[in-house]
Amino acid sequence: MDAEKIQSDIDLLLTYINDDMENIGGTIKSVYFSFVVGKPDRIAVDEKFNWPEDYLFKIINICNSRSLLKNNSRDFSQIFLTEEGQSRAISVKHGKNRSYELGASMQIATLNVHGPAQVGNGNVQNISNVFNQLLQKIDESDATDEEKKEAKSRLSKFLEHPLVGSIVGGLAGSLSGLA
C-alpha cells in the first residue's frame, strides 16, 4: 500500500479526532472515540472519508503502534488521542511542509529538554537586545540628525504594527531610544 497515502490518512484521522475533541472542549484524558458500526464517531468518519472498515481499523492500529492513538478496547470502542497524536494533528493543521528550505543556511541540530526548557518571555528579551543594538548603531552612525530621526521613526512604526506587537509583546514602548 502507498506509504504516502497511509501517512496522509493518518493525518486526516488525527485532525478529525482532535478537531472533534476541541469542539466539545475535551482533553485527551477525558474524551474517547468509538468506531463501532452505528456509533456517531463511526458514522461521521464513514461520511467524511468513506474508507472500508478494515482500512479504518488498519489506520487506527498503525496509530496505536506509533503511540498517536491509544486503543483501550478490542472492538475499537475506546480510542484515545495521545499527546503525540495531538501534537501531529496541530502540526498538520497549522504547520507547512518546508522541505524545499532544507540545507539553505540552516543549522541541523537536536532540541533537548533539560528540566524547564526556555520557552516564551526570555526570547522577547533577546529581541529587545537586538533593537537596542540597532538604535545604538543608528546613533553612532555618520548620518545627519534628521536621517537618524527618520530611521528611528520607521523602526518605531514597524514595532507598533499590531502583528509585530502580537509577536514581540509591545516592545516599542519599552525601548528607551525610541522615545
Partner: protein
C-alpha cells in the same frame, strides 16, 4: 538515593527524527512557533513537542518512583523478617 537524570530529545511528530533545521546556533524556539524537521521538512508545533516531552518525562519519573517503592518494600520486608511483632505483607 540515586539521582535520576534523563535527557529528552524532541522528536518530529511525523517521521520521529530528532534533528531539526534551526536558523542559527543556540536557537531557542518560542512557544507557539514551529520548528522544521531536518529529515522530512515538515513544521512541528513547538508547544505540542514540549507537551509530548513533558508526558515522556512524567512516564520516566513514574517508572522510577515505582521501582524505588518496590525496592523500599523489599528492604522493609528483609529488615523485619525475623521480627515477631511486625509483619510486612
Amino acid at each position: 538515593m540515586e539521582e535520576l537524570r534523563e535527557t529528552i530529545r524532541l522528536r518530529c511528530t511525523f517521521c520521529r527524527s530528532n534533528e531539526f533545521a534551526l536558523p542559527h546556533e543556540d536557537y531557542s524556539p518560542s512557544a507557539g512557533s514551529f520548528v522544521v524537521c531536518a529529515n522530512c521538512g515538515k513544521e512541528n508545533d513547538v508547544t505540542s513537542l514540549l507537551v509530548v516531552a513533558k508526558a515522556t518525562g512524567l512516564a520516566i519519573v513514574e517508572d522510577h518512583v515505582e521501582q524505588l517503592v518496590d525496592e523500599m518494600a523489599k528492604e522493609l520486608k528483609r529488615a523485619f523478617r525475623n521480627n515477631k511483632f511486625i509483619t510486612i505483607k
